[in-house]
Amino acid sequence: MTRQIHPLLIAGTVLVFMFLVGPLIIVLGAALSDTTYLTFPPQGLSLRWFENIFQIDAFRRTILTSLQIALLSTTIALIIGIPAAYALNRYRIQLPGWLSTLFVLPVLVPELVLGFSLLKNLAVQFNSPIYIALLFGHALLVLPYVVRVIGASLASFDFSIEEAAISLGSPPLKTFFTILLPNVRSGVIAAFILAFITSVNDVSISIFLTGPGLSTLPIQLLAHMEQFFDPTVASVSVLLMILTVAVMAIVERTLGLTFLAK
């Protein structure tokens, strides 16, 4: 792999990566500023805007709601997505082809349309609590990740090991927990955190399914930005970036980040 790459192409690549990382560094700088307005480079360094997040009731509340929704929706998606991914791999021939397309639908249908439809036809029409609509909206949003990532780990699983266990008298559920699950563990972890972070960051579904009394962090951020233009938003953004770093560290340890380029 020692072919020449044109120096202009390398220079261009350097610029692209500066373009990708630069704006996030600017947000970090703005969050650390001790001025009451947004500025970069920061005039003086302080962590006061981080303290401010936890003093604003709306942020405290929405951070908790976001974490709760992300945790619950990801758990729902895993509980129903793992059997589905298993069925699609194990019984491929017995199941119709459109079934796997069905599980990609949440990617195909615009999120805004899904959010609006859940509001209109679930929350309003059937008077279901908005929380339920938000929760299941998020579960649907992350389901394709679960089915795809776990499906990918199952693709390299040798099902004859499982059959051997069953033929030796292991009950199906025990086989699942002692044979199958340990083999796809890294897939499950990766699916969990990708789904979790997708849910935490979602705007397009949540924008229709939140309102007074129930809101998620990104929606609260949007609302805050419309009224104030202070570094609080920058510091919340930095918190979200810290979450991203944590997630990347876990993905790196379980699967390796290059997995994401596949």
Partner: protein
């Protein structure tokens, strides 16, 4: 028996998708055809309004421009990344994944700080004496496009690195040993083999831009309304749910049409498939 087991395991997920996605979305689309004024009245109203037509064409235009820029930038970058030595490649992939996992709101907000009236770009230009007074950069089509490109370039890079890496090195060496110059090899071997990846990337970027909400809302405002922001406004500000449903239906149809069309084109253009 096996069929039964497969269905049993797949049924909870199937039920979830049908109950919480297929039925609600279908119901939304159906209501657009069952208005008192006849089946296509809402669509006639949509296309009769010059404002809504403008929004539709603007959305298509912004999404197309974003897609083309992201394709060019993403492809050239992915080419360099895929040829980088191992350690550097890992660092570059991390640098592309990090923005991707950082939410849309945070990434759009970054451009709000940069492009604002008192933003970094304006204050830098003022300090350098290049401009006399701050430029209006926010709430323009340009601001939305820059932020959208920023949003989607990492996705394009990651999609294409995988594709470019899977191109057998032998082919490129063969081309070179037959006397092709690097540019000719690139144009005649690498580029055609990357077509399926380019199409997947283009579909992701186009549909993503076409249905976006947060970025046009923050950086475009009322001035650069797009389909997503218009739909939200119709639904939650003016409470015209029929109009919002119509926009939703138009978005679904265009998104699915693009995906189907491009998958077909990809199949036809892919030289590896005969």
């Amino acid at each position: 028996m096996k069929r039964f087991a497969g269905w049993t395991l797949a049924s909870p997920a199937t039920v979830l998708v049908v109950v919480f996605l297929v039925l609600p979305v279908l119901a939304t689309i159906v209501t657009t055809f069952t208005t008192p004024d006849g089946p296509f009245a809402t669509y006639a109203a949509f296309f009769a309004s010059s404002f809504r037509r403008t929004v539709l064409f603007r959305t298509i235009q912004i999404s197309l421009v974003t897609t083309v820029i992201a394709l060019v930038v993403g492809f050239l970058t992915a080419y360099v990344v895929s040829r980088a030595p191992g350690w550097l490649k890992s660092i570059l992939i991390i640098a592309a994944v990090f923005p991707l996992l950082t939410g849309v709101v945070v990434r759009s907000f970054a451009w709000l700080i940069i492009l604002g009236k008192n933003g970094i770009l304006n204050s830098t230009l003022l300090n350098l004496g290049l401009i006399g007074e701050p430029l209006t950069m926010l709430y323009t089509q340009g601001a939305v496009i820059v932020a959208m490109v920023y949003l989607f370039v990492p996705l394009m890079i990651l999609t294409l690195v995988g594709v470019l890496e899977s191109i057998p090195d032998d082919l490129i060496q063969a081309s070179a040993s037959l006397g092709a110059k690097p540019i000719a090899t690139f144009m005649q071997v690498t580029l055609p083999l990357a077509v399926p990846g380019l199409i997947v990337g283009a579909v992701l970027v186009f549909t993503g831009s076409f249905t976006s909400y947060a970025t046009p809302q923050l950086l475009g405002g009322e001035q650069v309304m797009m389909m997503g922001t218009l739909m939200y406004q119709q639904a939650m500000v003016t409470f015209d749910w029929v109009a919002a449903s119509t926009i939703a239906a138009v978005m679904v149809v265009i998104t699915i049409a693009i995906v189907l069309l491009m998958t077909r084109v990809a199949r036809r253009l892919n030289p590896m498939v005969t």
